[in-house]
């Protein structure tokens, strides 16, 4: 009987301990946040981290807005804080690095960045680290035999050596999404260069076109965009009827026929009407 009691008690204690700890576990944060970070370098332009925060709440992917994130530069097991940011209502944030010199690379010339989220009542803490090397694209427009080409060279800035076998894309800036020029994937040759011919007849405002040479989401070098301004487009001509006198123009641009003829009719008829009304007065005045 003693044994039964002990086992009985032991079982109860174990059960209650399990339940106790599991109740604690229930109180721990439920939702996991996933951070996506992309390092983007615009040649002769901004350098920034494109951050997106999402979470799976009730089995749906939701963007997480208004959370505070801290950005660190990881160097030799140390975390140097370089800034913080907050996600907007779309769960996105753009953290601009004013100068690449603000962060230090390690001995392999690789920069290591950590973005971390402390967590809050409903969200677990999360972090994401990325590593990238500093590379550069030098792009220019070249015309040969009346064909225009974009020539671009991809260089590893830290060693000043060209990078070969990497796929670059050339695209033309357009209003909503850019237009791909040439092939989608152009691998850099042993000199790190690509040559892409530009098709004829691309229109642009005043003939100005802005091309982008893009290294897209490379694991080693992040995203690099180099812009080339080229006045080789066909100028845009305004073909709208907005300035003409048409049947669908606003009233300050009525067709001349409709301005002249109806008004002549109206004035003619109302002129007669006014004459008739004056006749009424004449009748009233003449008493003889």
């Amino acid at each position: 009987m003693k044994n039964q009691f002990t086992i009985h008690h032991f079982f109860l204690v174990l059960l209650s301990l399990l339940l106790y700890t599991s109740s604690f576990a229930q109180k721990v944060k439920q939702n996991k946040v996933r951070l996506k970070v992309q390092y983007v370098k615009i040649v002769d332009g901004e350098i920034y981290f494109d951050i997106k925060a999402t979470a799976k709440i009730k089995k749906k992917n939701v963007r997480v807005s208004d959370i505070n994130l801290t950005i660190y530069n990881k160097l030799n097991d140390e975390k140097i804080k370089i800034g913080k940011t907050t996600t907007n209502k779309n769960g996105e944030s753009k953290f601009i690095l004013k100068n690449l010199n603000l962060i230090q690379p390690d001995s392999t010339n690789t920069y290591s960045i950590l973005i971390s989220f402390k967590g809050n009542n409903t969200l677990k803490k999360a972090s994401k680290s990325i590593r990238f090397k500093n590379a550069n694209i030098i792009a220019k427009l070249v015309t040969k035999d009346s064909i225009n080409y974009i020539i671009a060279k991809l260089i590893d800035e830290s060693t000043n050596t060209p990078i070969s076998g990497v796929s670059l894309g050339v695209r033309l800036q357009r209003l909503f999404k850019p237009l791909i020029i040439g092939k989608e994937f152009n691998n850099t040759d042993k000199n790190g260069t690509i040559i892409v011919p530009i098709e004829k007849g691309l229109p642009g405002v005043d003939g100005n076109l802005i091309f982008e040479v893009v290294l897209n989401e490379s694991e080693e070098f992040g995203t690099i965009i180099a812009m080339v301004e080229a006045p080789i487009g066909t100028p845009i001509v305004d073909e709208s009827s907005f300035d003409e006198r048409t049947m669908w123009s606003p009233r300050n641009k009525t067709p001349l026929f409709l301005l002249i003829f109806p008004n002549l009719l109206i004035f003619g008829i109302w002129g007669l009407i006014i004459y008739l009304i004056t006749n009424l007065f004449k009748i009233s005045k003449s008493k003889i």
Partner: protein, 323 residues
């Protein structure tokens, strides 16, 4: 005697453990309930913001309900009646891909707060003759270059812009419905009663700050005036595609600038002239001479069978009132 004491002690321990077990279990139950209730309450009570309405009263609004205005000047200022310079907006609708998913219609209804019985974007079940094949045809306003509706408006309430858009100034509209009679595409909609957009009306007034603009169709709608698809000028001037284009899961809608000769459906970006040649783009009712800005790509090499769209076809409904 000693046995009794041990037994009673054991019994006491036994009871104690049992009581503590039940307490823990019920405590668990309560905490679970409480956290669920808390979570609900959390969803409701977010940070409150103080805002001033247009007539000067201060109100408290949950910050999750306030939409940010991106005032970044990605575009130059222009006259609302003239439109964006150097642009001519066109849309291309690929009938070969349309499955009648109706995500476009839902997005349009939602973002323009349509409360009536008639959606602005309709997906028609078309079959010209028993011998010809049926297909799904989404229609928006065609933003015609020779718009019959603009010609007949007596008060210049609907107007054609330089960038191709045909918009409605619902502060000027007198509700004669002549434009609706003139439109051969049956794309215009009338507010026969109060639109009942309720609290949204107040929020919308805050969003575009001072007064109605023709670029925010449906925000708000006014009783006794006409509404229609506006090609979402409030989004396209921020270089974001219209709502129907982004909502379509099948890439049916392409949108872009004809002068740039480029259209995109969010995934593919193509040269408009080449697309129209490759897939023989055409326009609806070309013979009427309205010169619409919406091109259709014929339903050839269909990706999905027409019948798969029949499930979601509602002959007598185009606006979901359940929300």
């Amino acid at each position: 005697m000693k046995n009794n004491k041990t037994t009673s002690r054991r019994k006491f321990l036994d009871k104690g453990l049992k009581i503590s077990l039940t307490t823990v279990i019920s405590g668990l139950g309560i905490t679970k309930l409480a956290s669920k209730l808390n979570a609900q309450a959390d969803e409701k009570t977010d940070v409150k913001m103080e805002l001033m309405t247009t007539d000067g009263t201060i109100i408290q609004v949950g910050s999750s309900e306030v939409m940010e205005m991106d005032n970044s000047k990605k575009h130059k200022e222009y006259n609302v009646r003239e439109g964006m310079p150097n642009r001519k907006f066109v849309m291309v609708i690929d009938l070969a891909k349309c499955k009648n998913a109706l995500k476009c219609q839902n997005a349009c209804n939602k973002h323009h707060y349509i409360t009536g019985n008639h959606a602005w974007l309709k997906v028609y079940k078309m079959q010209e003759d028993a011998d010809t094949a049926p297909y799904w045809m989404p229609t928006t306003c065609m933003h015609c270059d020779h718009p019959a509706c603009v010609t007949v408006c007596p008060v210049d309430a609907t107007f054609k812009r330089r960038d191709g858009l045909v918009l409605i100034d619902n502060e000027r509209c007198i509700g004669c419905r002549f434009c609706m009679a003139a439109c051969p595409y049956s794309t215009r909609v009338f507010n026969w009663s109060e639109p009942n957009q309720d609290e949204i009306t107040m929020l919308m007034e805050m969003e575009h700050q001072t007064h109605n603009s023709a670029e925010f169709a449906g925000l708000p709608s006014i009783k006794g005036t006409v509404d229609k698809c506006d090609f979402c000028p409030h989004t396209i001037k921020e270089n974001i595609l219209p709502h129907c284009v982004t909502a379509c899961p099948n890439g049916v809608f392409y949108f872009g600038d004809k002068y740039e000769d480029t259209v995109t459906n969010g995934e593919e970006t193509l040269r408009l002239s080449q697309l129209l040649i490759d897939k023989h783009g055409y326009r609806l009712m070309e013979g009427l001479g309205t010169k619409p800005s919406v091109f259709y790509l014929p339903p050839v090499d269909r990706l999905v069978d027409f019948k798969e769209g029949l499930e979601s076809f509602t002959d007598f409904k185009s606006v979901d009132k359940s929300e």
